[in-house]
Amino acid sequence: MTCHDAREAFSALVDGALGADERAALDGHLATCAECRRELQRFRDTVALLRGAAPVRAPAGFVDRVLEAARPAPWPRRLLRGLFLPWPVKLPIEAAAIVLVTVGVVYVYRATPELQQSVRLGPTSPAVTEKPRLTPEPSAPSSSPEKNQPQEQDKAGRSMEKKMAAPPPAARDEASRRAADLRDASPDAGRQKEAGRPAPAAPPVGGKVEAPPVRAGREPEVAQERARARAAPVPESRADAPRAQRPATGPSGVLSSVPPDVSGRLAVSDRAAALRGLAELVARLGAVESRRVDASDATLVELTIPREAYPELARQLGRLGRWQPSQEPAALPVQVRVVLRITG
């Protein structure tokens, strides 16, 4: 046995774990090697030192603290702990879940026309329309036109307002509602609204009809326009408005309270002839003209036409003049509400 082998056996010797043969070999080596005997003595002293170390005692009160910690917490605390702890992990996850749900709701709402339609129908209930009735409509026909100093670029729009104000009180509410729709479709709409809020687009003076996008666009302006459109039919729910004076129940009665599906400008050389041609088209294609407003430089015509007949209408409008649709979504409703701004 070498010195190295002998010293490797010290631990087993001290612990009494050596076999008889190993023990005999080690004893034989130690009998002849003084250095290994000294090393073994130091090794034994080291182990003795370790085993003689003062025992460690747990601090006072340790048992009580453990028993207190082991006692089950009241159920509300356990519930809260389960919901929120560890908070660095669970709170961000819960916050992200709320955001995801919100985004999902908004996405589904925007992707589902039926939901949007149901929201549009909402203001027809008295409970919802009560509030807008208390708020004066900035450009409603009841506001005195004389208070507004006409400006050249507003002339067409204001003359339309005067015309819209002309019907008797029984029809005034409906007229103002229509006027609000048509104002939204006119380039003057932005100027008629509260200061600082821009129109959906900046058309040239006397330019094309700018109707707010309904289905194709998803920009924030769309939401603003929808809100305006919903706010427009304020007088519709008035109790004193005779139901007989209202349009017959039908798609136009609902659709006219919202921005048109299609809008555009029809530039013609002879407006009167174009209007006659349009009337024939309306009759032939099964459309219904629901509103017409004449101004010196343009005539606004609102009509409702079945979806399948709209392509033919668009073709025929191109024959009547230069048809420039500014709003023509790919997906059209069953009944398409069209607002034409006929200039010429």
Binding site: S11, L49, L50, A54, V56, R57, A58, F62, R65, L67
Partner: protein
């Protein structure tokens, strides 16, 4: 591997039945041993206190899973050792504080002032030398020479082969012998 003693078996049975008195008896019986392992491994009384509490709480929660093919003490040492080693390697551990009061408190109070001074110096050197061992050697020498576990119990607690236990223990003792050379005759 040694089986459970009669007392252990009775205590475990009562623990499984949810006897609160049994848990208290367990903590009273093993508090110093578990705390001692934690203190010698972590070197901080505060950390050792926290970790020893965690050991008993785990026992309290998991006593139903105790298989009973080992001594209750071995199971406790296994949990304590694993928690200590995890904490030492996790990086979440607070930095060991220099001059921890632990070392001085280990001295005996029965010696004369001169002997006490000498013994304190020796104890301080001993625990400093233990603290300087690698974690895997330190836990083996603590369980063997300070807590008195057998090779087999250490192998079971640390889930090591017997040969690995023997080897690490021998290396740890040789390291300590080198570090404590000046105190040895």
């Amino acid at each position: 591997m040694e089986g459970r003693t009669g007392d252990d078996a009775s205590l475990v049975d009562r623990l499984r039945r949810g006897d609160p008195r049994a848990f208290e008896e367990l903590v009273i019986a093993y508090q110093h041993r578990v705390f001692g392992v934690a203190l010698r491994m972590l070197g901080s009384r505060a950390e050792a206190d926290e970790l020893a509490q965690e050991v008993f709480l785990r026992v309290h929660r998991a006593v139903a899973e105790f298989r009973g093919d080992a001594k209750l003490s071995t199971w406790l040492y296994a949990i304590a050792s694993r928690l200590c080693l995890n904490r030492l390697t996790s990086g979440e551990r607070r930095m060991a504080r220099e001059g921890e009061e632990t070392l001085a408190r280990l001295a005996s109070g029965h010696a004369s002032p001169a002997d006490e001074l000498e013994r304190s110096e020796l104890e301080a050197a001993l625990h400093r030398a233990i603290a300087e061992l690698s974690d895997e050697r330190r836990i083996v020498v603590v369980l063997r020479d300070l807590e008195g576990l057998s090779y087999e119990e250490i192998a079971a607690a640390l889930e090591l082969q017997l040969g690995t236990v023997r080897s690490r223990l021998h290396r740890a003792r040789m390291d300590l012998k080198e570090k404590l050379e000046r105190f040895l005759s």
